[in-house]
């Protein structure tokens, strides 16, 4: 017997799941991505490097800047270009804006209705309007940063190899500085709300993240390994899905907010660090639902860190100088932390600056195996004990905890 879960709701993109039951026992769980393939690797082949980040951004609207930046880093690494601290800080600020926008969307609009027992945030707002509006305020602020750094709330083209089209003004930076203080108490409240969430989902054997907090030169794993993705991550195609599945050293792993906290808690800002310590024991259990509490702690981190960055930029003044680029033959990888985990863009470029090879691996694809394992474990735990509708609801909640982004995951492939 196959128990079908209709298309997931309150997730980005179109996916389904099925649980295979034989002789009254749960045998297997599959996550099926039913969205059509988008072939972005083919779209960028032969294209001039300068235009590529604008195209790659369109892989995903929720984390478009993560895609733009991963693309830019891959291209710069191929050309051997290094950018100064100012540009590095502005890039980090952009990624922080995206974390704020994406985490608050996920926590307040997509997950919170489960906690409060509503089908969506709009209906939840009738009783808990204050919480929904706090979420919207955080989301709007994240989007403001994305607009300032990226050029538009969604799919701006301001992020370029070697720097930016336009640099933020002092007024814009000051506005960001002020909002960080004002919003901090909302973020702290989010930590309290999500600390009460029930714990469910599988426990991964390893966590994987980039070596810097929001982007890096290599990947790191919870066993201490520092590596390039092709050294230890194996991908395979699936007959029932447009996504591929990955394993680290043949084991199931996780990437995302929880993974970042587990392997990089030493980088946290003061209040975020304190909150992490307060909840460390719970987070260390490692179940995927704890990703939501980790996201809430990252909201606090993002506001604190954005303030630090803006402070530095205002002290030094923004020079706004791009690094000139001379195209040459090369190969480069960009590693970025999208809100939902590690994102990899890998390119080869010819001497004219045109792309000859492109490989993109997204966090939802990296988490695919763990998502299936979580569904399997949850289905085993509840099957037969609860009615079918409740079981389906539980399974959907499990998928949602990952903050999956299905649009991203449908073209994560090697040419």
């Amino acid at each position: 017997m196959i128990l079908e879960l209709g298309e997931f709701t309150r997730v980005e993109g179109n996916g389904k799941a099925e649980v295979i039951i034989e002789n009254g026992e749960v045998k297997e769980a599959r996550v099926k991505i039913v969205e059509g393939p988008r072939f972005f690797e083919l779209l960028t082949l032969g294209r001039y490097y300068w235009d590529v980040p604008d195209l790659e951004a369109r892989i995903c609207a929720i984390c478009y800047l993560a895609h733009s930046f991963a693309s830019v880093l891959g291209i710069e690494n191929a050309f051997g270009v290094k950018v100064p601290e100012e540009i590095q800080l502005l890039r980090e600020l952009g990624l922080i804006g995206e974390i704020l926008e994406s985490h608050s969307l996920h926590l307040y609009l997509l997950v919170a209705p489960d906690l409060f027992g509503y089908p969506d945030a709009i209906r939840m707002a009738s009783k808990h309007g204050e919480i929904v509006r706090e979420g919207l305020a955080l989301k709007a602020f994240g989007n403001y940063i994305r607009e300032v750094i990226g050029g538009r709330e969604i799919h701006g083209i301001n992020v370029k190899p070697g720097g930016f089209g336009r640099y933020p003004t002092e007024d814009e930076l000051e506005k960001i500085d002020k909002s960080c203080d004002a919003l901090l108490r909302f973020a702290k409240r989010a930590v309290n709300i999500f600390a009460t969430q029930e714990v469910f989902g599988a426990v991964p054997e390893y966590h994987i993240a980039t070596d810097g907090y929001l982007y890096g030169e290599k990947l790191i794993a919870s066993d201490g390994e520092r590596f390039d993705y092709f050294e230890h991550i194996e991908e395979k195609s699936l007959p029932y899905s447009f996504a591929k599945q990955s394993h680290y050293k043949e084991s199931v792993f996780m990437t995302g907010a929880l993974s970042r906290l587990m392997v990089k808690s030493d980088r946290l800002t003061p209040i975020a660090k304190e909150l992490f310590e307060q909840h460390r024991e719970k987070l260390s259990r490692g179940n995927v639902s704890l990703n939501n509490l980790a996201q809430a702690i990252e909201l606090v981190y993002s506001l604190e860190r954005a303030k630090e960055i803006v402070g530095k930029l205002l002290d030094h003044g923004v020079k706004g100088e791009n690094v000139p680029i001379e195209p040459k033959e090369g190969e480069g990888i960009g590693y970025v932390e999208a809100p939902r985990g590690v994102l990899i863009h890998h390119y080869r470029i010819d001497e004219n600056g045109n792309i000859t090879y492109s490989n993109i691996i997204t966090p939802t694809a990296l988490n695919h195996a763990l998502m299936e394992l979580s569904l399997y474990e949850e289905a085993r735990k509840h099957y037969g004990a609860v009615d079918e509708n409740f079981l389906k609801h539980k399974l959907e909640e499990t998928v949602r905890a990952f903050d999956p982004c299905i649009s991203c995951s449908v073209h994560l492939v090697r040419l």
């Binding site: 179109n14 929720i62 478009y64 969506d120 709009i122 799919h155």
Partner: protein
């Protein structure tokens, strides 16, 4: 009024942009009752709709079924965003579906019933087509308000250049020689990419009627841009609709 939002294959941005209306979204809810919007709600009611919004391209059999359902159950259908109106970036990937599957997934088998991506407008009649990758969120707000009030919506019929001039941005095509597609692209974005001192990449699709893509092509070729480069650039969002 009953409203449904249906997502086919896309980046999620056109549905997400509706949520980015924030407080204005609550204003819309004074007029509309949301019957389906899977990104935002687990609530779903099969019902006749006054307005169906469809985003994305038709890229697999499932998309086609969703689109047909949306058309059959609605009075007004809005094709929202450049994927739905012109095919956008995913529609621009050239080649046949089985060749693409082989290159990317290593097999010609098409078990998931993928289709060559095409815009919504190629499969069904649409009442309104609102392009943009993404569209400006106030545009969908205005369109929905107009429909609720029975006002004839205004269609944008001018190039990005008009809004660029109104903002007094420096012309990046004339002054910097950048390949800016503003003169042949439908306005409505407030020339936001030119604000970043970069050329328009044409994400709102080609301006019909008076636009002169052949002239634009010639100007850019004379500036030294490679023909193949320009050909791909012109077609990025609009599947070869521009002729020159």
């Amino acid at each position: 009024m009953k409203l449904g939002v249906f997502e086919l294959t896309d980046c999620g941005g056109c549905a997400l942009n509706i949520l980015f209306l924030y407080e204005k979204l609550f204003d819309l809810l004074e007029f509309y009752e949301i019957k389906e919007f899977h990104m935002a709600s687990s609530f779903k009611e099969h019902d006749h709709l006054d307005v169906a919004i469809v985003t994305g391209t038709v890229s697999c059999q499932r998309d086609l079924e969703v689109l047909r359902h949306a058309r059959n159950y609605s009075n007004y259908l809005i094709a929202l965003g450049t994927c739905a109106t012109h095919g956008s970036v995913q529609g621009a990937v050239e080649g046949k579906i089985r060749d693409k599957l082989e290159k990317v997934y290593g097999t010609r088998a098409n078990t998931m019933k993928a289709l060559d991506p095409k815009p919504v407008v190629e499969y069904v009649a649409v009442d309104f087509a609102l392009p943009g990758c993404p569209y400006d969120k106030m545009e969908i707000y205005q369109l929905l308000i107009d429909l609720a009030k029975g006002v004839e919506p205004i269609k944008k019929d001018y190039p990005v250049c008009i809004e660029c001039k109104l903002n007094e941005y420096e012309c990046v095509l004339v002054k910097k020689g950048l390949p800016c597609l503003g003169p042949i692209t439908v306005g409505g974005c407030n020339a936001i990419c030119v604000k970043s001192k970069l050329g328009c990449i044409g994400c709102r699709g080609p301006l019909p009627k008076e636009a002169n893509p052949a002239g634009e092509f010639e100007i850019l070729r004379n500036l030294g841009y490679d023909e193949e480069y320009l050909r791909r650039k012109f077609k990025t969002f609009a599947r070869g609709e521009l002729r020159w």
